[in-house]
């Protein structure tokens, strides 16, 4: 048993205060302590991207952070992407409509990565999308439909942002 610390953080807009072992990774904290199992563990050494979350709006591999490092910060996980329980985010709709997932294991990490990317690059080229997701591995799809879904999502988000005449 190692040292414990009490941390306070916001996850998907909800504030949590918990006591954690200092060696607990952020990914394990999110999954086991908070029960948010949408964030997946694919490799636990920072290469697959399945554990990607947004920390203060910036994508990060949660398996490469300690939970104690998130004290005082804001986290977005895949569970926080949909605007409500019965409405999907346009990015999620684009993935559904374009067969952008097969088994779905890599998908949460790809969605959070794309939330950041499309926010900062609302009108990307295909090449830019491919580079943006290069830190996320997928074993099923061959990536093609993921890229198509991302480009489709960009269009949907732009249409949403532009007020209709």
């Amino acid at each position: 048993m190692t040292d414990k610390r009490t941390i306070t953080l916001a996850v998907n807009g909800t504030r949590y205060e918990r006591e954690v072992e200092v060696r607990f990774t952020l990914a394990d904290f999110i999954r086991h302590e908070l029960g948010l199992t949408g964030t997946h563990l694919g490799c636990e050494h920072g290469v697959c991207g399945a554990c990607t979350i947004l920390l203060d709006g910036l994508s990060a591999r949660s398996c490469l952070m300690l939970a104690v490092q998130a004290d005082g910060h804001e986290i977005l996980t895949v569970e926080g992407i949909a605007p409500s329980a019965d409405k999907l985010h346009p990015l999620q709709e684009a993935f559904r409509d374009n067969h952008g997932l097969q088994c779905g294991f890599c998908t949460p990490g790809i969605l959070t990565t794309l939330i950041e990317f499309l926010r900062d690059n609302p009108d990307p080229t295909e090449q830019e999308v491919r580079i943006a997701i290069s830190g996320n591995l997928c074993r099923c799809t061959g990536y093609q439909n993921i890229v198509i879904a991302a480009l489709d999502a960009a269009k949907r988000l732009q249409a949403q942002a532009a007020p209709s005449p």
């Binding site: 048993m1 190692t2 040292d3 610390r5 200092v22 060696r23 990774t25 394990d28 636990e44 050494h45 920072g46 991207g49 990607t52 920390l55 910036l58 994508s59 990060a60 591999r61 398996c63 490469l64 952070m65 300690l66 104690v68 490092q69 990565t113 950041e116 990317f117 491919r130 580079i131 943006a132 290069s134 830190g135």
Partner: protein
């Protein structure tokens, strides 16, 4: 794959960091975590103490002073990537940083962490060598500076004492209009470079090369300055045939054999990538005489 038990510290000042390093045995410094955390998760390292640098004040900055960029050790790679002053004054760093890992790793990874980790294929390590950077370390006896050429002492081992911490990297800038290029070969975008080449050139009023820096990464345990190539370029007008000829000497650079490539293939890549980097650098070289 979970980290082993350790004591955790999150100091707020550099003095606290030095104090902790002074009294703790078997301690590891945690910067961006993109290299240390995988090692902890796989239990390749078993420190008794982890000193987290992420809440230390005053280690993250980018300043221009005396024809150099001074960069705090905890400056995130992301901040380097989006920094206007880095892009303007040190475009080689900007071009190289786009090859470092991925968005997620650059959001957390730091320049200090990368330099201290000294992965043989690390892009930031290569450009630090290319630019003749100097690093500052702080320890119980104060601070000292280490020329980057002297920084790597062995495979993934920097010339830092156990009780010291890297605080700053100082990168002398090349004059505006200088030619620069960073190229690398890897199987996929974002992978470690199998071989990389960094080129910097400056020309005099008559368009002849007055200064050159050519650095190969990924060949052996650290970046290699191709001094023969640099020498051969001086006084010459930049052109493709010249580059092709002088870069042949890169085939003689000692290289390692591993699962990614044979030594021979690395040497071939060195000659080719050095030539490509020089060609790209020459294209970017501005015709005006250097004004500094």
């Amino acid at each position: 794959m979970k980290p082993p038990p350790f004591q955790y510290y999150d100091p707020r000042t550099l003095a606290d960091v030095v104090g902790l390093l002074g009294r703790l045995e078997n301690a590891k410094l945690l910067a961006g975590g993109q290299s240390l955390m995988p090692m902890l998760n796989m239990r390749f390292v078993l420190p008794d103490h982890v000193i987290d640098l992420n809440r230390v004040d005053g280690l993250s900055y980018i300043r221009e002073r005396d024809r150099a960029l001074e960069i705090g050790a905890m400056t995130r790679q992301r901040d380097l990537e989006f920094s206007d002053v880095v892009r303007a004054r040190c475009p080689l760093v900007h071009e190289a940083i786009l090859e470092v890992g991925h968005r997620q790793t650059r959001n957390r990874g730091t320049i200090g962490g990368s330099l201290c980790h000294l992965d043989p294929a690390a892009e930031l390590v290569s450009v630090a060598a290319a630019l003749d950077a100097t690093v500052t370390v702080a320890g119980p006896n104060g601070t000292r500076e280490i020329a980057f050429a002297d920084f790597p002492v062995a495979y993934m081992s920097p010339a830092i004492e156990p009780q010291e911490v890297l605080t700053e990297v100082r990168i002398p800038t090349w004059p505006p209009g200088h030619g620069y290029a960073f190229v690398e070969f890897s199987r996929r975008h974002g992978d470690f470079a199998i071989v990389s080449a960094a080129a910097l050139i400056e020309a005099d009023g008559s368009g002849k090369i007055s200064r050159a820096s050519v650095t190969l990464g990924g060949m052996g345990q650290g970046p290699v300055r191709a001094r023969d190539v640099e020498q051969a370029l001086l006084g010459q007008a930049p052109n493709e045939d010249l580059f092709r000829e002088v870069c042949e000497s890169c085939r003689a650079i000692e290289a390692m054999d591993d699962i990614h490539a044979s030594a021979g293939y690395r040497q071939h890549l060195a000659a080719v990538l050095a030539r490509r980097a020089l060609t790209k650098a020459a294209a970017r070289l501005q015709a005006a005489p250097s004004m500094h």
